[in-house]
């Protein structure tokens, strides 16, 4: 990416053409394989991209917090799933109630206690029961889904389905296994609930690394997020190539203390600090596949080139963050780039959504 002069770095840029390609490719995969697509909007937090996803055929979106639902809901975006086990106090119950006035809204639950707190939203709010398929984060074991579902029925909330996040797909070579675990857990939980009279149920799964290994007929809906932009993690997992990267942080080389070591003005406060144990560094450079970010501080990235090419003081470099969701969350707007020019600016509108759940 070469940008016209005058750009202030670090600058978080969306490569529009690649974004459109990524959006279309995932939607046509889902359509042809028979999955509903409910993309996770926590990745981009932008109304503009949310609308594109709906226009291309997604039946709704996923969000992580009630704040994200408030920021993104409205207009064409009228069906939201907060795929998080919400623990509601009185204020959150009111906010959820307000959302149900204009949107179809469903939230996650993994305990009978959390569901009971929502009784005043009887008949207005959907519940999906969270199942743990191997990540050991949130979610009940499949056989225990019934307890949560019955609590919802008892207080008059509609049980719409079961969901899981196969997050163990975020490790090299684990995508097939995670997709199999996802299918087995969703199938078992749904079967127990169908037998008890619940239904129809949406069995919802899916992450960017595992989406293409998901089991059709067992899984009804996928919720990938990262695929819109991709990132260094997806490259190193073998899920995306450099050509699929649609978001970069353009940085300036501010220091070059020795020939093989350059320092950029983009640190963890703009790239994010995510670094799984299997990652080869703190991010990659779009145009230098051999280079690695060996050190990352708040305002500095130290790059080792490890290959041909020279980078001089003052050069602009396009950095691919390790995890694009946290990188987007660090800026107030994304610069939209077409043919090496900034053509638009999109507000990261749901960014405040994490400040107040």
């Amino acid at each position: 990416v070469t940008l016209a002069g005058g750009l202030q770095t670090p600058a978080t840029c969306v490569i529009a053409e690649r974004l459109h390609k990524n959006l279309e490719r995932m939607q046509s995969f889902a359509d042809s394989a028979g999955f509903g697509l409910r993309p996770h909007a926590k990745t981009h937090k932008c109304t503009e991209i949310a609308r594109m996803q709906i226009r291309l055929g997604s039946h709704g979106l996923s969000v992580a917090t009630v704040g994200e639902a408030e920021a993104l809901g409205g207009g064409a975006i009228d069906d939201l799933f907060v795929c998080f086990p919400i623990w509601a106090d009185q204020d959150l119950v009111s906010r959820l109630g307000a959302l149900t006035d204009t949107l179809r809204i469903c939230i996650g639950a993994d305990s009978a206690e959390s569901v009971m707190r929502l009784r005043s939203l009887k008949g207005r709010l959907g519940i999906s029961v969270e199942i743990d398929c191997g990540l050991r984060r949130t979610g009940v074991q499949p056989a225990a889904a019934l307890g949560v579902a019955r609590a919802a029925r008892e207080v008059g909330l509609t049980v719409e389905g079961v969901f899981t996040f196969p997050g163990h797909s975020y490790a090299p070579g684990m995508q097939d296994e995670a997709a199999a675990d996802e299918a087995a857990a969703l199938e078992e939980a749904a079967a127990v609930m169908l037998q008890d009279g619940f239904g129809p149920l949406v069995r919802s799964g899916g992450s960017t690394p595992s989406a293409r290994r998901a089991h059709p007929r067992t899984v009804d809906e996928l919720r990938p997020g990262v695929y819109v932009f991709n990132d260094a993690q997806q490259i190193e997992l073998g899920v995306a190539g450099f050509d699929d990267i649609a978001l970069v942080v353009v940085a300036t080389v501010v220091s070059r203390p020795e020939p093989g070591r350059i320092v950029l003005d983009a640190g963890s406060k703009v790239l994010g600090q995510d670094r799984p144990s299997w990652a080869t560094g703190h991010g990659r450079l779009l145009d230098y596949p051999d280079a690695r970010i060996r050190g990352l501080w708040e305002h500095h990235a130290v790059v080792e080139l490890n290959g041909p090419g020279t980078i001089r003081l003052g050069d602009l470099v396009a950095v691919v963050p390790n995890h694009v969701c946290t990188a987007v969350n660090l800026v107030s707007e994304l610069l939209v780039v077409e043919a090496a020019s900034v053509v638009d600016r999109w507000a990261v509108r749901a960014r405040g959504g994490h400040d107040h759940r």
Copy 2:
């Protein structure tokens, strides 16, 4: 910390009494040991705290970007050091020029090339030469400081000093060694420059872990940042105790899939993802010293209690982030707590400063 009801979590809270104690303690240490104190404001990014630091006796503040200088400068805050090797384009030169109208401002440099670009600010801008004392990030070797200083003199910029960041103090047991490296590098660089006719020179160093081991008479000024709040890193380095923690993220227990595993509604988008290799987890709990955050995702922290005490669904828990500077950067305001009540809200004013350097 117990907060009155109605608090929306996750909530990033400052414990006012402890903040004041931390500020006073560092200032009186610096005063009695003979160091000037120029605290790094990138930690808090708040005008309110910046003013307290000046009122207590700091002669100026450090910032990381020109954007932070623009956000914080003004009024009593009239002396700022941008301790970063700025690579200025025309726009940045203009912005620095505008700052010199109302502030005393000095910036970092570690190359002759970067200094030459500032020639139009002749007579208005100070330069401090960055020295590498062992971190291998930015900065020249001490003997090479002269080249940068001479470039500054040639274009009419005032060379005010030399500075270094002993960042290798961020490892267990390394504080004394890092402080010794800092003193040796500053002394060598300053001696070479004094011999060439430069002076007087401020020799500036200092991080929170190494500040109390800094060498008086060799080091003139300290630039710690984290000490205002402290964090889990400082606890695990042995630099701070739980009683010194002045910033916590209050979170709700939203899930408890098994008795020893609880899940909080505070993830990396509010705590930050920093985790050095020697850290025991992704943060600590203020009231449960044995607990560890063993997993952290964007909106979930998975806690293992490892000890006595029970935590129930819906309980509020005070989380101590690993690295407080990146945690503050994730929220738009800090809630100020006194005697278990929120008494004020401080805007994280310089938060935008990283979006545009």
